[in-house]
Symmetry: C2
Subunit: 273 residues, 2 copies
């Protein structure tokens, strides 16, 4: 999806967890991981012995503008050195590892990490190489494992997608976007008086054309019609549009086709007697 | 991350929302989208006029085994035809569109979709082409927009990543994995009696070697040591290991180095007089 607004500053700068890629293989995956990190406001990347060396031109090509993450990436010889300054480390794994260690969902891990960071702790997340994931010796360095709940019959994620999901939950854990926003553009939601005026006009026209001629059914028909328009949560502008539509449908002038024949007759309004 | 267990059936089969890719450009992105869908248990892909035609070998190469999604993909000439059988449609967008339409987070949309599906409705999600996203005429066909909260300074997502995040929330909305599970492998958590026995042994040895010789501080030191081991939530097996470690550290035999010189002296135990 497009939609980056480069004029806006990144949110959630500051105390964000470093994402530590252990022995990543393809430069392309490092680049797409950098992009996914920046999508989630996470800017500190650490690389442990990337297979193809560093820097890597393929990483830059794949980062789609997340160059600042790659430019700031730091390089380490082993995982222990890469986490030395951290106080809590979470390790991602897709497989059951039978380790005596807490296993968290990405959502729960994000909450825990936010809580630790709020206390001033420095936390980080380990991601393993593309094929095999983290080795058990690296997992043993972590406080807890993150296992993302996914289709158990097809749970294998690309490296950048693991990065995205963990980063996404990190971002959501502090994001305050309301779940649902009803948007009215520049026009405010229509007030009830305006809506009543529309109903009065619409029902008068429907009486006149005979649509509401069944006296017994008329009250429930009117209620049903009103409910439809209530549910649409119309804006003032939309209500003006509907007024215009009904007026036009009921007050047209006779037209002629290309042969000069009349194609619709003008229906006289009551007031015109 | 590795970790697919091909022996397990996909969860959440059945009533899952079709994901509708409108005018996708690169076959590779269709393939990675198929993989992301299957990661989330979503199997029905619909394609509206893919730029490079269909089928597409690059899509298959990028799907990493999600062939069943591609094999079952259906092709449509326009968006209206692709959604004709659905009762509610959600359209993803990264940009503010100033439409008079509800805007939902991916999480909220997932909840709404699950609720509709539970009522027997057929719902679907529209995804736009890579660069520009959905056109306004397509958005006008939708009940609501989905906008994923992300770094406002860098919110542009790859197509497969949009698919992944919406699918991920769909999966999470019905997933019952506990946020945190403490794992003990094959060995159960140690009972308190076993832990007490360890403390008794440890503190006897620490008294003997003089570590707890400060009578005034001894009670608080003992409490602090007990707290450390309580917090570790040890398994029975781990406690046996600790027992053995302490026994070994306090009861070692004299060793010799390669020159035959003794490297440590054996410390006599009290019981040995």
């Amino acid at each position: 999806m497009a939609g980056t607004d480069k004029t806006k500053a990144s949110r959630a700068e500051g105390a964000t967890p470093p994402f530590i890629l252990v022995n990543p293989q393809l430069g392309q995956n490092i680049g797409t991981s950098a992009r996914a990190m920046l999508n989630c406001g996470i800017t500190e990347m650490r690389l442990v012995a990337p297979r193809d060396g560093w820097p890597n031109v393929e990483a830059v090509a794949a980062a789609s503008g997340a160059d600042r993450v790659l430019d700031g990436a730091t390089l380490y010889g082993d995982t222990a050195k890469a986490i030395a300054d951290l106080q809590a480390v979470y390790a991602t794994t897709a497989r059951e590892r039978y380790m005596v260690k807490p296993v968290l969902t990405a959502r729960e891990a994000a909450k825990e990490m936010r809580a630790r960071v709020a206390e001033g702790q420095k936390v980080g997340v380990l991601f393993g190489p593309e094929r095999a994931g983290l080795v058990n010796d690296d997992l043993a360095l972590a406080n807890a494992l993150i296992r993302i709940p996914l289709n158990p019959g097809f749970s294998s994620l690309n490296l950048a997608q693991s990065v995205l999901l963990v980063g996404y939950e990190w971002f959501q854990a502090a994001d305050e976007t309301p779940g649902r926003e009803d948007r009215y553009g520049w026009s405010p939601p229509a007030g009830k008086e305006m809506l009543q005026n529309f109903f009065t006009m619409l029902e008068r026209e429907l009486d006149e054309c005979g649509f509401l001629r069944n006296i017994e059914k008329r009250p429930s028909m009117v209620r049903n019609i009103r409910n439809m328009f209530q549910r649409a949560q119309l804006s003032e502008q939309e209500l003006r549009t509907l007024h215009g539509m009904v007026a036009c449908l009921t007050d047209w002038r006779a037209g002629t086709d290309e042969l000069g024949e009349p194609v619709r007759r003008r229906r006289k309004r009551k007031s015109e007697g």
